[in-house]
Every structure is written in structure tokens, then in C-alpha cells.
């Protein structure tokens, strides 16, 4: 006789083994269904958004405050050193800025002459606050406090501190999850500015601590790429807009096949230290329409 039989006057209960079986099957079914599709995204994300996100918005302020206190305790000395260094840098940059301003006037004139209206891409951006970060230690994702209600959509690019951070991979009405480019297994098609050579930048958990991401498939037979070269997103990327700063080449090594090179890139944005980000509302596929 099956154990799931209701006797008279007894409350209906499922044996725990069956419950485990049911829950595991639901989990596995969900994994299979959501691996390639976004079937449950809208209902699940809406429900989760209304239940959790309003609280997160408030609590994350408390979290930031705690983080501030923690840093105050640990970093007075390093801040003093940094301050001195930054002052020097300010002097240097002011000087540089003056020179650049002069060059810019010249450039504007030249551009007017050549009727080049758009050399640098200027995108529309929306600011958003980071309200919570990945609850595990394996990937690097975070949640921002804006979603479809604010005009955001899947795959929009996110920048902070002048560099590319990642793109939106999940979205609800009032929140969105951003998967950053340092997250393990995330690929970005990049391009070295000085030589226009393309490469594939890949996030790697083993490098994340040091603020690096790996790159591979750089075809550079003439050895043009050296440490410190600027890497931006390439024109051939299908998810990322062209010309966003990824970082600077840190190391370059020859691959065993002697045709391609790989190595590491120092990321431009300081991951883990921003509480606000900018979401670029222009999308790659609509850009040329």
C-alpha cells in the first residue's frame, strides 16, 4: 500500500522522502528549463522584486554605512599615503589637462575642417545605485535599484569609474542584476587601441582578487602589444558597445601554438569599490538604425 494514504481523521501529510524527491525534481526541471530559455523570468523576477527589493534598498544603506566604518578603522594610514600620492597626481594631471585642452581646440578645428562629427562615441546614460551584491563567493554579480520601469533592458552595458563593469543579465520591474566582466567565464571581445588588434577577455576567479582578467586569442605576430596598452571593447562584440574602456594590458605571453598570445589585463574600474554605476541605455543592435 502506498504510504500517501489519508486515514480518517488524520491530517494529510507527505512523507519527507517524497517531499525531497518533489523539491529536487522541481530544481532539476527549473535548471533544465532556464538553461537556454528565459521562460520564468518575468513572473519570478516580478514577485521577487516586490518582496525583496524594497527592503534591500533600505538595508543596503546600512550596509554601506558599516562598510564605511570598517574602512575608516583599517585605512587611515593608507589613506594618508594615498592622499599624498593623489596630490602629486593632481598636479601632474592639471598640467597634462592644460596641454590637452590646447590640443582639443586644435582637434575641434581639424574635425570641423574634415567634417567628422562623431569620433568619440557619446552614449545616453542613466545612473543607478548598487543595492546588493552576490550572495555567494563564486561569481561576481550585483543588483541595481532600477529595472524595466526605468527604461532599462536586458544586455544594456554598465560602466563605473570610467571603465566597463558588465552588462544586465536579469531584469525585474524595479531591479536588475549586472554580471561583471571579472565574473568567472564571462567573455568580452576587446581591441587594443594602439594597434587595433582584437582579443577575447575572459573573467577568471583566480585573477579577480588582483583586479585582473585573462585575455586570449590575440594574434600579434609583430609583437606590437606591450604592457600598459589600452584595451577597449571591440566593434565586433555583439553585446557590448564599441569603445568602452576595459583596462590596460598587464602581461603578455606566447601561446604554445606560437600563433596567438594570451595574458592578463588590469581592469579600469575598481571592482568592489563602487556604490553607484552608470547604465548605458543605447543598445548595440539598435545603434545603426
Amino acid at each position: 500500500m502506498s504510504p500517501i494514504v489519508r486515514k480518517k481523521g488524520e491530517r494529510f501529510t507527505i512523507p519527507s522522502k517524497y517531499l525531497l524527491l518533489i523539491l529536487s525534481s522541481i530544481s532539476i526541471l527549473l535548471m533544465v528549463l532556464t538553461y537556454g530559455t528565459s521562460l520564468f523570468d518575468v513572473p519570478v523576477n516580478t514577485v521577487a522584486g516586490t518582496l525583496i527589493v524594497p527592503f534591500e534598498k533600505g538595508v543596503s544603506r546600512a550596509g554601506e554605512w558599516l562598510k564605511g566604518r570598517k574602512e575608516e578603522l583599517t585605512s587611515v594610514r593608507s589613506l594618508l599615503e594615498e592622499n599624498a600620492r593623489l596630490r602629486e597626481q593632481v598636479d601632474k594631471l592639471t598640467e597634462e589637462n592644460i596641454i590637452l585642452m590646447q590640443e582639443r581646440y586644435e582637434l575641434t578645428d581639424m574635425q570641423a575642417l574634415l567634417s567628422l562629427s562623431e569620433v568619440y562615441y557619446s552614449y545616453n546614460k542613466v545612473g543607478a545605485r548598487v543595492i546588493s551584491k552576490d550572495a555567494g563567493n563564486w561569481y561576481d554579480t550585483f543588483v541595481i535599484d532600477k529595472g524595466t520601469n526605468d527604461g532599462l533592458a536586458l544586455d544594456m552595458n554598465v560602466i563605473a569609474g570610467g571603465g566597463l563593469v558588465g552588462r544586465i543579465t536579469k531584469i525585474g520591474p524595479n531591479w536588475a542584476t549586472v554580471t561583471s566582466i571579472i565574473s568567472d567565464g564571462v567573455n568580452v571581445s576587446g581591441q587594443v587601441v594602439s594597434s587595433d588588434l582584437t582579443l577575447i577577455a575572459t573573467g577568471d576567479l583566480q585573477l579577480t582578487d588582483r583586479g585582473l582578467i585573462a585575455f586570449s586569442q590575440l594574434s600579434d605576430p609583430d609583437g606590437l602589444v606591450v604592457k600598459g596598452d589600452k584595451v577597449v571593447t571591440s566593434h565586433i562584440s555583439d553585446k557590448y558597445l564599441p569603445g568602452l574602456l576595459i583596462g590596460y594590458i598587464d602581461t603578455v605571453t606566447n601561446d604554445a601554438n606560437n600563433l596567438t598570445k594570451s595574458g592578463t589585463i588590469k581592469t579600469a574600474s575598481d571592482f568592489g569599490y563602487f556604490s553607484t554605476v552608470l547604465v548605458i541605455t543605447d543598445m548595440k543592435n539598435t545603434e545603426y538604425e
Binding site: 525531497l20 550596509g63 554601506e64 550572495a135 563567493n137 563564486w138 583566480q206
Partner: protein, 174 residues
């Protein structure tokens, strides 16, 4: 009933605590795993069913906000909650060693299962690196945090247990 409400409230509460507060208090570049801790403790306090259900919803929340696919964390933490429920017969309020051992084992098995499902499957084979830099620090931090959280959960649970016993006695008296 009260027990169910308690579990239902503490899941989102601990999720927010973990993703908003503890992510800002990283030690050695890791955050503690309160979701595993919660499923483990509730399984141990009550029974296999509570542990499994609590684990399922804890994992599902993690998947909805941060996961690559829905169901991966849910599956792992459901199993952990269920297995910890098996030890609920050994529950004594004054003994803190057994729950600490269970939390350690649970977090370790979460780490290894997650590594196998999410990393080994993609060809990331340096298990030594991940054990030393992610799994082990996470276990230590979770254990450290559970030393503070476990007594609080135990205190609340004892209150409700006493309340329930009192109610039942009153009913019998009438």
C-alpha cells in the same frame, strides 16, 4: 504554524542580511553563507521537511537574483537541509558542538557541490586553488558568524517551543 511563519520570515531576512550587509563586510575576500547556515539550523531544529523546504526557498532566492540558472543553489541547499533534518533527533539545546560540526560539514559540501556543478563542468580544474581561496575561508567565516547567530535562533526557537507547550497544557487542563 508559528514555526512555519518563523521560517518564512527568516528566509528573506537572512537573504537581505547576507546580500546587503555581509557583502560589505568581506573577510579574506569571502562572505559567510547564511543560506546554508539557515537551512542547516532549521533542519536540525525541526525535521527533514522543514530543512528541505527552507533550503529550497533559500537557494531559489539566491538563484533568482544572482544565479546563472534557476534551481542550482535550490537543489544543493534542499539536500543539505534534508540531510541536517536527519539529525533533528539528536537536538539538545545546550549542546553547541553538534550544530557547529553540522554547519561546517554542510558549508563544505555546499562548496564542493557548487564547484562541481558550476566550475568543474566548465573545465576549471584547479580544485586546490578554489578549496584554499573560496571554500575554506567561507567555512571559517560562516562558522564564526554562526557562533553569534546560532544562539539567537536557538533563543527564539526555545521561546516558541515553551509557548507551544504552555498552550497545549492549557488545552489539556480545560
Amino acid at each position: 504554524m508559528i514555526q512555519r511563519i518563523l521560517v518564512a520570515i527568516s528566509i528573506p531576512f537572512f537573504f537581505i542580511l547576507q546580500s546587503c550587509i555581509f557583502t560589505n563586510l568581506k573577510l579574506g575576500n569571502v562572505i559567510p553563507n547564511l543560506m546554508v547556515l539557515l537551512a542547516c539550523v532549521y533542519g536540525f531544529f525541526y525535521d527533514e521537511k522543514t530543512g528541505a523546504i527552507c533550503g529550497f526557498f533559500c537557494g531559489l532566492l539566491m538563484d533568482i537574483f544572482f544565479g546563472q540558472v534557476l534551481g542550482m543553489n535550490a537543489l544543493i541547499i534542499t539536500l543539505i537541509g534534508f540531510l541536517n533534518g536527519g539529525f533533528s533527533g539528536l537536538f539538545y539545546a545546550e549542546d553547541i558542538r553538534l550544530p557547529m560540526i553540522l554547519i561546517t560539514l554542510s558549508d563544505a559540501s555546499y562548496g564542493f557541490m557548487y564547484y562541481i556543478l558550476a566550475f568543474l563542468m566548465r573545465g576549471r580544474i584547479s580544485i586546490g586553488y578554489y578549496s584554499l581561496n573560496v571554500i575554506l575561508p567561507e567555512i571559517f567565516y560562516t562558522l564564526l558568524v554562526s557562533l553569534f547567530i546560532y544562539p539567537i535562533l536557538l533563543f527564539i526557537d526555545t521561546k516558541f517551543r515553551n509557548y507551544r507547550i504552555r498552550k497545549e497544557r492549557e488545552r489539556q487542563d480545560v
